[in-house]
């Protein structure tokens, strides 16, 4: 396969966009809620949409808006954003396994769209095959467009979906539950997930912020490596 041959065609675009629907379902209410909040501190829909376009990271944007509201300095907002989004380093690394040798301009575009949600779905798709950088890009950008538009729409003051309607607040949690189930393939991965969950809970109540995600994941994957894969003999 040449590096970009799966980039072309309607089918590719459709496949990627179709796989994005659970993400979009979750982004719309969160995006609207973000827009409402941002509008309350005096940001215009254009300013809100621009932040979503440039940053594209839900939790960091919520934190930034509350910091702007409390008059925090630019430096502290930027530093906090960096810390909150550092976990993408790990996600990008684990996606890299499937992207060796790809064109660097396309990788650079793909990197822009790595979020917790797109990571989970793309990774599962790459693993199961019949997936490529083309549909992955389409998925990322579908999610991105929905995020930018729903945050900007919220900026018009509209909470168009009443909070709690149709259990939509649970959409992303349900998606992560299923994506986690997909990753529980063998003894090693089950053990890594169990360790990570426990360590993450403990760290999350001990340290503020979300660094616990990276710390727990690194600790758990490292511990998982020490577990003998099923069926191998100890040397």
């Amino acid at each position: 396969m040449t590096p970009i041959d799966d980039l072309r065609g309607r089918e590719t675009l459709k496949k990627g966009a179709a796989a994005a629907w659970p993400i979009c379902l979750g982004y719309i209410p969160i995006g609207l809620a973000f827009g409402v909040l941002a509008q309350k501190i005096g940001l215009s829909p254009v300013q809100i949409g621009l932040m979503s376009l440039l940053v594209f990271a839900g939790s960091a944007q919520f934190i930034a808006v509350s910091m702007l509201a409390s008059g925090a300095s630019a430096a502290s907002i930027i530093a906090t954003t960096f810390m909150v989004n550092l976990r993408h380093l790990l996600m990008s690394s684990s996606l890299a396994v499937y992207l060796v040798g790809r064109h660097r301009a396309i990788l650079s575009l793909f990197a822009y769209g790595i979020t917790d949600e797109s990571y989970g779905v793309n990774l599962d798709k790459f693993r199961s095959g019949n997936w490529g950088i083309g549909p992955a890009l389409a998925l990322n950008h579908t999610a991105n467009i929905v995020w930018v538009l729903s945050t900007a729409a919220g900026g018009y003051g509209g909470q168009f979906i009443p909070p709690g309607a149709f259990g939509i607040d649970f959409a992303l949690t349900a998606m992560f539950i299923c994506l986690l189930v997909f990753q529980l393939r063998d003894r090693r991965s089950v053990i890594a997930a169990a360790i990570s969950g426990i360590v993450a809970v403990l760290l999350s109540v001990l340290i503020p912020g979300n660094l616990y995600i990276v710390l727990a994941s690194v600790a758990a994957a490292t511990a998982g490596l020490l577990v003998r894969p099923a069926g191998t003999k100890e040397v």
């Binding site: 621009l50 690394s93 996606l95 040798g101 998606m175 994941s217």
Partner: protein, 107 residues
């Protein structure tokens, strides 16, 4: 805050968010990775998804505290079983939402 100050802040936020997203896919894809790194990275998804999910289910408040009484946790357990049984992403999302909505109504 002026408009240009806001622009500066969000541009810088965008940059510091982009770099950790970009550096690994850009640099780690130049040549095949050593086997131990591939094996380690293959455990990262299960670990990271668990680290993203579990604290959301069993903690609440700010600062966070352990809380096993959350609706999210109650609904997560049958949703987990549903996902195990069906292995359907769309089905799980719809099932989870419907159950969450129903339990929320009843409680």
């Amino acid at each position: 805050m002026s408009g240009s100050e806001y622009l500066f802040i969000i541009a810088a936020m965008g940059l510091v968010t982009y770099i950790p997203r970009w550096a690994p896919v850009f640099w780690l894809t130049r040549r095949p990775m050593p086997q131990w790194l591939v094996q380690w990275l293959e455990l990262i998804p299960a670990a990271i998804l668990s680290a993203l999910l579990v604290p959301v289910l069993v903690t609440s408040g700010q600062p966070r505290q352990i809380d096993f009484g959350r609706l999210d946790l109650l609904v997560a357990l049958p949703t987990f079983l549903f996902a195990l049984k069906t292995r359907s992403l769309g089905g799980t999302v719809v099932f989870g939402m419907a159950l969450y909505w129903l339990v929320d109504k009843l409680m």
